[in-house]
């Protein structure tokens, strides 16, 4: 009872710009309207390893996830907290994000991994984004009997939101690009 899927996307922007955009993805007020399911993003801790150029960050993401009425009745809440850990390796130019839910864990586990790397065909100009999502309904939970349906619904929702997320990322990249050209003029 696991639903898993992978997605790939190529950003025609350098890795540095895409990784900057990733930090701004949830914070920008303009994007808050598009990504309206994201209620709050808080940084819980951060650390830097100066010898290797690796930056580690943990953020809390509060998501509004209103399900159908029967789900709401079982689960009793429509706010979900997720924890996202990020590792940026500046030396090898790789950014890896991993998020999972910490609320509703007795019903469902959702894990999402995203990585941004320079695109092999154009390492200085393009960025490859690989995304992997796994959704699992706990077998003994009250949702188990309808697990398949719930998983599908979650998967659909996640897919919709990741399309929105990519649109937002593309927009921030364009904005950062414009900003950097105007600075260098």
């Amino acid at each position: 009872m696991v639903k898993a899927y992978r997605q790939e996307h190529v950003y025609k922007h350098p890795w540095e710009r895409v990784s900057c955009a990733s930090w701004r993805k949830f914070a920008d007020p303009e994007n808050k309207r598009v990504l309206s399911h994201i209620l709050d993003v808080d940084t819980l801790n951060h650390s830097l390893d100066p010898s290797s150029g690796k930056l580690y960050t943990t953020r809390a993401i509060t998501i509004h996830c209103p399900g159908p009425w029967f789900l709401r009745r079982i689960v009793g809440q429509d706010i979900c907290h997720c924890v996202e850990t990020t590792m940026v390796d500046a030396m090898s130019r790789s950014m890896q994000l991993s998020s999972r839910n910490i609320s509703l864990q007795k019903f469902i586990e959702v894990e999402e991994k995203i990585r941004y790397d320079p695109h092999p065909d154009n390492p200085s100009g393009w960025t490859l984004c690989q995304q992997e999502t796994r959704i699992r309904i706990k077998p003994l939970s009250a949702l188990a009997s309808m697990a398949e349906k719930v998983e599908q619904r979650c998967a659909d929702r996640f897919l919709q939101n990741s399309v929105k997320g990519r649109e937002v990322m593309e927009r921030i990249c364009k904005y950062l690009e414009a900003e950097s050209t105007s600075l260098s003029l």
Binding site: E16, C20, T43, S47, P50, A90
Partner: protein, 80 residues
């Protein structure tokens, strides 16, 4: 009822929203201007971080999240 829950959770850390914005702005600038350009000798924005973090530790309600806040700086490769 539902709206209440949403707004309750929203308000839990929104008390810190100004401090959060100040920290995130500073972080984004440091990340783009320093870290991405090979200057990774130290994290900047220490005073913004201290203020924001102090606010969070007062307003975070979820005990799982508080655990992460207290485990400052301990993020393992294996978490990824």
């Amino acid at each position: 009822m539902r709206e209440n829950k949403a707004s309750k959770s929203l308000s839990s850390t929104s008390a810190c929203s100004l401090l959060r914005d100040a920290y995130h702005n500073c972080f984004n600038r440091w990340y783009a201007d320093k870290f991405m350009k090979g200057h990774w000798d130290k994290l900047e924005c220490a005073s913004e971080w201290q203020k924001y973090r102090a606010c969070l530790s007062q307003h975070l309600e979820d005990k799982h999240l508080i655990r992460f806040l207290e485990a400052e700086g301990i993020v393992q490769d294996s978490d990824l």
